[in-house]
Symmetry: C2
Subunit: 161 residues, 2 copies
């Protein structure tokens, strides 16, 4: 089985696949009488039609090494994942190769970081690595086919250093 080593998430490495939702070195603006730093517009929802909604995902924590069987993508909208706990999680993405996923990449977020997966970008399912596995998800709410799955003939193993 091919092994993928998860790397720390950086905005640069993740840019082809989406956006890291993390504090900038300094807030863009201080609000609320100086008691709150606003890190402004870190990601914008990219929704084709329908509504932009907030759902909660309550996912079972996984452990490494992780067996990657499949990736999926959402042609009609971006999908952001915001952890509701101070924990990092595993993010798996893959470039598109003529309608199928190419070689996957894996990243580890740090506590206090979320991500937005770009519209129509191959990615693994939500994989928390610690409890509680509770995330807010900002994505498209609407009818129509917004899920494409790809199951790998040969699964991958994801590890970390």
């Amino acid at each position: 089985m091919t092994t993928i080593t998860a790397k720390p998430l950086t905005p640069q490495a993740f840019a082809p696949f989406g956006t890291v939702i993390a504090r900038r070195p300094e807030p863009d603006v201080m609000i609320n009488q100086g008691l709150c730093g606003r890190h402004h517009a870190l990601a914008l929802a990219d929704i084709s039609d329908g509504a932009t909604g907030i759902s909660l995902f309550d996912a079972e924590p996984r452990s490494l090494p992780y067996r990657l069987d499949m990736v999926e993508r959402h042609p009609l909208g971006s999908q952001a994942f915001i952890p509701m706990s101070e924990t990092g999680f595993l993010v798996i993405v893959a470039p598109d190769d003529e309608g199928r996923p190419g070689a996957p990449l894996a990243f580890l977020t740090r506590p206090g970081e979320g991500i937005q997966i770009a519209r129509n970008t191959w990615h693994g399912v939500l994989t928390p690595l610690a409890p509680p596995g509770l995330f807010a998800v900002i994505d498209r709410i609407g009818d129509g086919p917004n899920l494409e799955e790809h199951w790998f003939d040969r699964p991958y193993t994801v590890t970390a250093k």
Copy 2:
């Protein structure tokens, strides 16, 4: 100074002011091969124009009793607050009374809950009660006047039982 006693947040009590973003008793659907419960479309962004964006707010924790000097509202869009830690926070809202805020109400969320303040609804600024005070905020990104503040002639004191 008039005292307001914060009550536990419930969807019913909060309904005139917005939406509680919390897990339902059962998920709407199990996804990801049964490993993730989706609590679907708990809130929908209500944005007049411009984009729907995700920002991070890094707010200083407050303590009770809390002195409430002002409330604000955003005429052009809803604003959702998602805690990125397993902590509750203080939520203050007020009905509108001919263009000015009426008597404020205060609520305490539980860990694992977020809220969406409805468009043009009077509310207090973000008031975490414990560190780290880090929240994802889903609101309107765009130009134009989207902030109205009201400073009270006589501040309120917010306590909890």
